[in-house]
Assembly symmetry: C2
Homo-oligomer: 347 residues x 2
């Protein structure tokens, strides 16, 4: 890594992911020169701490990005669409954790363990993939590389923190209401900008993000399309069913894959994953060892277990993939992208 | 149905499923002549109400079944193994809601909407399938009949009541502990008879029942093998990943199928399911209408939604199947089997 000190802006600093970004910049000793915390007008004026110093959050405007090298955006797609161009014009590289530019062919979509070289192709903006996509492709890439990949079918078990701090608060308050027999009104989940709200406490809700005309949710299409883009394989069949659970942090995924190579064993899968960066294999069924959201929360790695061969398809395998959706699924991956820019001397 | 009045015994009357059985016998005006409530020694002496009358629960012994026509067992596999023969020798037909005899080739495994004619082949015992199997095969059979079925891959989202009243209590107490920041010790879930216990509150645990040597849980193998048996298709490829959630009642399932016929549309799937017995189609994504555990709890039907065509496989479809695991998944299905015996004049 070069010795450059970096002027960093965090847009959406007061959100669930923004807070994680500050923590992770500090944990990983990212070479921050100046730090600018930006937010909507509503949150401006709040104070946040970074390396023991207090920072006042400012309202983001088009003029906020002067002198900024890296702008980490995580304040929703409309904020990214509104300010990313201004940030790029000011000379910053935007690392955007919203869906605003992910499928734009001029914007690299990067999971550093999978396609770090794509960062070099940026035109000012690099997109951070969707949380549920990141953990899956990071687990699949070592297998794709070793054995080829012909099919992916995933069903997700996603935490409410992916829908923001308000969603976590709603889950907690609603859980208390249910346990104590009080009436309540759902107001945030499944999708705060949609028409109807449903109970998340002690429930499983098969809707994350809004529905498209083809009956898929946008979250499902994100997983499908982003996976193909990151793995550079437009023809890879990928199917997804995305479900929200009453879990605070930690997405779990039941993933079925078909590899291309004949005669692959579960042990060979395990070997590939054990040596893969950012992956911890947690898989010892005889001792009831498998990944769980409660263990993954707060961790950087992606945990893979329940690895087993399909009983009918000789090339089919099942995996259970769990990661902290705010860390590897969002803040950590964004900062790893920033680190790769530094390492490649692209800023 | 004939006009016979039936002498009924319920073994495991004080359990979660036993209580549902009494409710459903009453709701459906099952022609009960005498009712005998049986349990372990521990629960004997308790009082339960049926049609406004109180019944004292007796300890089950080999002599408990004299004069009984139908014995509904739901007290665990070991109890069924211990007393089913005695019940059959006394002249009763045993309808067993445990895994004890399900894969025995002399024992029919019956979901009345799917394979009711199999009840005629009984030799004293009829098995009630596993809860997660019942709701899936009932949704699949109308599609198999119309379009053929070549592949099933299911990931489950299962409620804790499937593990008994103690599991529901543990989930509720643990949820309070987590919400109020208290320490707690898991003692029941994921599997009370296994070695290790894990947090279920605000978590997703990929273990239901114990692990077999091949890395699958027994619950997963139940879904796989029972589905083949009920659908009379040993060659049908079926894969399952079974996951326990912090939901009290209502199992949800993300089901991927491949049909045999070319050119099938989602509308044709819908038509088949809309006219199928015991199924309610709950599927209008543009209005955020889909099945959820909280809506299915307390209902008899199996709810199917999120129906959509796979984006890569022309014969592939995705479904979200939800049902009350204690009712259709256990008590109701057992009593429907009893009703079919009456209707066919087999008792």
């Amino acid at each position: 890594m070069n010795n450059k000190l970096v002027n960093v802006a965090v847009v959406g600093a007061t959100g669930a992911v923004g807070e994680q970004m500050l923590e992770i910049l500090e944990e990983r000793s990212f070479p921050v020169n100046t730090l600018k915390l930006l937010s909507s007008k509503r949150s401006a004026g709040k104070t946040l701490t970074f390396k023991g110093e207090e920072y006042v959050v400012e309202e983001a405007t088009e003029d906020s990005f002067e002198g900024i090298d890296i702008a980490l955006f995580s304040a929703g797609g409309s904020v990214s669409k509104r300010f990313a161009d201004a940030a790029v014009k000011s000379g910053a590289v935007v690392i955007d954790n919203t869906s605003a530019f992910r499928m734009d062919e001029n914007v690299p979509l990067v999971v550093p363990e999978v396609n770090v070289d794509d960062v070099s192709k940026h035109n000012g903006i690099i997109s951070n993939p969707n949380c549920s996509t990141i953990q899956m492709v990071a687990a699949l890439e070592p297998l794709r590389e070793a054995f080829g990949l012909n099919r992916v079918i995933v069903s997700t078990y996603q935490a409410v923190s992916g829908a923001g701090v308000e969603a976590v608060d709603e889950m907690n308050e609603q859980s208390k209401d249910v346990l104590e027999g009080r009436d309540f009104e759902a107001k945030v989940l499944p999708v705060s900008s949609d028409e109807k709200y449903y109970q998340i406490a002690f429930n499983a809700v098969p809707q994350i993000d809004k529905f498209e005309d083809n009956g898929y949710t946008f979250e499902e299409l994100k997983m499908i399309n982003e996976t193909k883009k990151i793995l550079h394989d437009d023809q890879l069949p990928v199917a997804a069913t995305c479900v929200r659970l009453p879990v605070a942090t930690g997405h779990s995924e039941s993933v079925y894959i078909e590899v291309d190579k004949d005669g692959v064993t579960v042990n060979e899968l395990r070997e590939q994953l054990e040596k893969a960066p950012g992956i911890t294999v947690t898989d010892d069924p005889s001792n009831q060892v498998y990944p769980m959201a409660t263990d993954a929360a707060g961790q950087d790695d992606i945990f893979v277990g329940r690895m087993r061969k399909d009983l009918d398809n000789e090339k089919g395998f099942h995996l259970w993939v769990v990661a902290d959706n705010l860390r590897k699924g969002a803040a950590l991956n964004s900062i790893q992208i920033a680190e790769s820019l530094l390492k490649k001397e692209l800023i």
